[in-house]
Structure formats: C-alpha cells, structure tokens
Symmetry: C2
Amino acid sequence: MDPDLSDLDAFLDEQDLDGYLVDADSTDSNQYYLSGFDAPDPFVTLYDGEVRLLFHRSLEYGRARREARAATVERSIDYGYGEYSEEYDPHEASYRVLADFLDAYDVDSVAVPPRFPVHTADGLRDLGVSVTADRDETVSAIRAVKTDEEIDHVREAQKANEAAMHAAEDLIANADVRDGTLYHEGEPLTSEAVKTEIEVTLLRHGCALDETIVACGADAADPHERGSGPLAADEPVIVDIFPQNKATKYHADMTRTFCKGEPTETVREWYDLTEEAYRAALDAVEPGATGADVHDAACDVYEEAGEPTLRSDEAAETGFIHSTGHGVGLDVHEGPSLAPSGGELEPGHVITIEPGLYDPAVGGVRIEDLVVVTEGGYENLTDYPVELTL
Amino acid sequence: MDPDLSDLDAFLDEQDLDGYLVDADSTDSNQYYLSGFDAPDPFVTLYDGEVRLLFHRSLEYGRARREARAATVERSIDYGYGEYSEEYDPHEASYRVLADFLDAYDVDSVAVPPRFPVHTADGLRDLGVSVTADRDETVSAIRAVKTDEEIDHVREAQKANEAAMHAAEDLIANADVRDGTLYHEGEPLTSEAVKTEIEVTLLRHGCALDETIVACGADAADPHERGSGPLAADEPVIVDIFPQNKATKYHADMTRTFCKGEPTETVREWYDLTEEAYRAALDAVEPGATGADVHDAACDVYEEAGEPTLRSDEAAETGFIHSTGHGVGLDVHEGPSLAPSGGELEPGHVITIEPGLYDPAVGGVRIEDLVVVTEGGYENLTDYPVELTL
C-alpha cells in the first residue's frame, strides 16, 4: 500500500521543516506505515518528500533493499560509522552518522513523533539539527483514515475474531454446571482454557494477539483485567478479543459478555442498558460528528438511568469508567478517540463502539463492535449476535 | 520479584540526580521491571529510592493499587489534570501534572532511558525540570543480570521452546518427498504450516510469540527473513523460535537447522563449521571474558576456514554477518552483547550463542543455544540435539 502523505507534506511546509524523522523498530506503527518495512530492531526513516531508510545493522540491509517502499536504503557504514566509532562511543558515533545522513539530503530541521527517543533528539540537537516533537501526531492522524485496502485488512482480522468468539462462546455454552462452576470434559472450565482456545483459533486464521480478556465475576469489574481461574455459572463473563493479522499487521477488536445460566436482575438490567448505550452511540456515528458526541450519546443513556460515568464524576471507579471507543488499525488503540477530547469523525475512520458497566460487587458487562465511518454514516464490520445468556 | 536497584541508587548518587523516570507502557521492559505492573497504555514510573506510579487513566488505577510493586500509586486528576486541561492542551496539561508530581517528591532532576519520549522530556524541561538521557542504560544493565527466579522463568520458556522445536522437527522429518518438495498429509508442507504448529504448541505451553522463523533455501540466507511457501528436500531449513512466557514475560531463544534428505557438500561443511564455531564460542563463556572475546572465538573458526565475517569485512553481505549472541530476558534482544562492543560477562547473564553462515546461492545455517553465565563458566539451558539431517 502506498500511503497518501500529502497531509505530511502540508504539515512540513506549514511548519517550514525539512523532514519528518522516525527512529524505531517496526512495532512502532508510524515507522511501519512510513517505511513499509518490518524489522525487529530500530532503524531510521526520513521523509523529505521521499522515504529514505538508514540501517545501523547490515543484517537488515539486503532485505530492506528488496522489500521496503523507499527511494533510498543505506547503512551506517556508508556514512563512516566505522571511523566515528574509533573516535566516539557507539551512541555519539550513531548521532554523527545520522547528522551526516540528514545533511546528505539537505535536511537541517525535522519534526519527530512525540515518543521519538530523547537521546537521538538530544544527540542531533548537539550537532546543530533542529528537532521538534510533533505534538499533533501528524502521521498518526494520517493513519487514522484508512484506505479501502486497509479496511479490507481490518475486515479480514475481524472475521478471524468472529471465529475465535464463536469458539469461546461454544465452550461456555456447552459447559456443564456443578456447584456453580462451569466444567468442560470433567475439568473446571477456566479463563485460561478459553483464552487458549481463542488464541489457537486466531493462529489458525493467520492472526497473532497481544492478550485476550476472558474475565468473570470480580475480575470482569476491571476493564483491563485479563481474568484467571474457573468460570462461574450465573455470572457475566466478558470476552474481549483484539487480534492482529500477522501478514497485514492490521487489528480487529470485539467484545461480548456471556452468562451461562441465570444472570441476576442487576446484570440483566446492566446488559440491556449497555445494549441501549451501544445502539445510541452507533446511531451517533457519522462524518462531522465528533468523538465527543458519540461518547456523550453513551453517557446520556447511562446517566439517565442513574449510573455513574467519568463524565459525571472524573474520579468514578464504578459505572462507565472508560471512553466509548478508539481507532483500530496497525495499533489496536489509535486515533480517533471517542472521548471528551475526541475530534471530528471522517469517512475511513475505523473505530470501536464499546460501552460497559463495572462494579466489583456485581462484575462487568461490555458490548463492543468495530465499525468504519462512511460518507452516509457507518458500516458495521462486526457480524456477531448481541446476546447475554447461553 | 523485588529487583536489586542498588546500582540505580549508586548511579543517581554519582550523577547527583534526584530520580529515574520512565514514561511507557509495560511492553517497555524497563517500565515492567521497575514498576512490576502490566498495562497496555503508557504510564509514569518514578524511582527516587521508592517506586512511585502515576496513571493518566483512572482505568488502571484500581488494579495498580492492588498489583503494582510500588510505594505510591496516584492519578493525573490527583494533581489537577482537570483544571490544567481547561487552560492548556492535553499534552501541556499532562506535562504540568508530571512536573507537580515530581515536585511533590522534591525531584528537580531526572535521568531517563535513552528511548524516553522526547515530547515528555521537552515538556518537563520547559517547566524547569532537568532531564538527562541515561546513555549507559543503567536499568537495562541491571536487568541483564538475572536472579535465580528470573533464570527459572527463562528455563520454563525454553522448555516450551523445546516442545515447539520437536513439533517442527517431527513435521519436517515425517514429511513425504515428491519432486524435491516436502509434503504433509498430501499437501505441500509450507513454512507457514510449520510456524502454525510451532505457535500452537507454544500457546499450549503458556507462551506467546512475536514471530517465528522457518526459512528454507534463499529465504534462509537472510538471518531475519521469516520464510514462506513450500519447504524443499535436500536444503537446509532454519527454525528459530523465541517465545515469551505469558505469565512471567520472560523469553527463550533457540535455533536449529534441519535438512530432510541429502544436504549438498557445501551445506554439510557449513554445518560442521558452524557447530565448531558454536562450541568454540561456548568454550569462551565465563565470568570476566568479554562479549567481544566470545564473538572472536566464533569469528576465528570461520575466518580460519576462509569464510567472510563482519569482523574481517564490515560490509560483508555473505558469511557470518551478525553477532554471536545477545542477552535474553524480558526482551528477546537485550544486554549483554556478544559482539565487538560486548563488555565483561557476569554470573547471571543469560545469553544466546548463535553463529551461522549465509549466502543466497547456498541458503543459511545457524545453531543457537541459550546459556546462563555461572561462577564456574556457564550452564546450558538448552536440551536439544545438534543434528542437521533428518
């Protein structure tokens, strides 16, 4: 995929800067997006109207020349790293190489992503290069608007996600119940066992994963708790799966909450309310609406029902205690944000809609779909029923 | 595990700095090591003799109070984030919160890891905090020396690695050969299929993985090429597995090279030479020897046999074109380095020994074990035969 970097050109022009510089391995999505190259060790990408790569290690050089979407691919040794390292420590030698590399392309001033390494920035500054942190995250903002090809990558990852969710749901639905605990083939059915089933299913669909959440009872009351131990009957189990396709590197994201047996009245009410908040948030998604508008739609539902939210109390620890959603792409959490600070939605934004309620005394409930903003509103990339009880 | 941070105390003392500051999510191993807390979004850890955490999002706050190994756990809103964000943009508001947090502990000057985010460093500097990049990577150096508990974590990950390697070897050994291609159950046996088998085995042993290398023929000539497509008979297949235990977060690392059928004479010679280099490097491992010494031992073997190395030619693209090894722990690549710049080995260093030869005209051969430096030399944490042909 050739990204459209015209917004980056405009930014550099406007700021009167010569280039945009990234120093990171390709798990940094700005690096992977700009360079089109996948490497486990940090390398440098300069954008000065062309994409130019600089490798410290010869190891990646040959593959980069074959694979990377770049006008030039060079090595530290091409800029005298060997000589510099006789005179200076390895860090200082690499700053000097980098300054010479920039100089070769007449680049005296660069913007860098906010999380660019401070030692490289300081090293370059000491050598007279102007380095400015791009607090507006121009490349991240470009990444947030997906091309049709990128949307297809997300769609493919979400298909794998649906297969994994079905595998998890089947395990829970078909579990035996003894003394309030779920059993599978005579053994207690644990969070860990369901996660393994999910992850094996994802692998067989070409996806890897950072983590998976299968959280029951008090575990589920903490939105980022991964969950552990035997699953209980009659309690909500939050299953949140966010795989990454290994070939394309694009993510998907989906959550369902299941209950094997009879949920308490409170859990049933929470589920229905969360489904209502989820539908209200979905209804608010359209180009021109802001992330804050969508978040407000979910908060309105909860607050009208008397549930606490972070909007009504910034220190709330129970209730709706996270944002309504986030962008999904090369990163599982990226722009835009569906939160009080969330800006205008644009066609091509791929976002989650994921309201939920949490309280250690009750457990947790969350429903999450993945949608893409379109000219006319949104397309839901998720094809999975919204049902609590199994 | 309570890390021994006395070297960090000494460093801060020597540099006359008030604290050490990390701003990262827990995939940053310095962050995980210092904070003892696992979170997917960036948070701040200050070490000023005590470990102190600051969370931007309330979301992680409750869990951090329960789980983190920290003297204090606080939130941005405790330092007036709400008020600041009415006056300033979200970035500036968070710098002001962070400066107030440091001030609350009388911290005016901090060292930060070299890859600390430049925007945070600049934001703090503008508010009068002194921020110095710690080019010596003090925390990484502390992490490089493992406790017995950490070594056990690596050992456990290596057991999973051995199980996965056996699964891969079995697939290749039991493959049928037709027209020079390996077949499994009537289908061509691909690199991808072997990787899936490896990764499913790892998952079932509690490990995750970033990537796996199963590279045959010309693919194998590039040490970082992951490999793809049908595997060939009579050619070397490099299998390099580097899992991470999901519970402990510690890695293992191992490589074997297999050949189903009859290797060419060159491949057989390369294999024997690489086994010789591997044994020479292992023999050189002991406390007081340097990483450079170990690397030299491997280079000597190759160069005496007339093979090019990066030591003899820094621009070499065939031959022995990487270092002899690296540390393994929370990161799969960490200190110490077994390369020309590699410093003194100490008991507790966990390192790979992994010489190899590469040439697109021949393919690649690599043998890699994982060992821990001990008072008396080293203990090999790898229990897997060294054999080329299957």
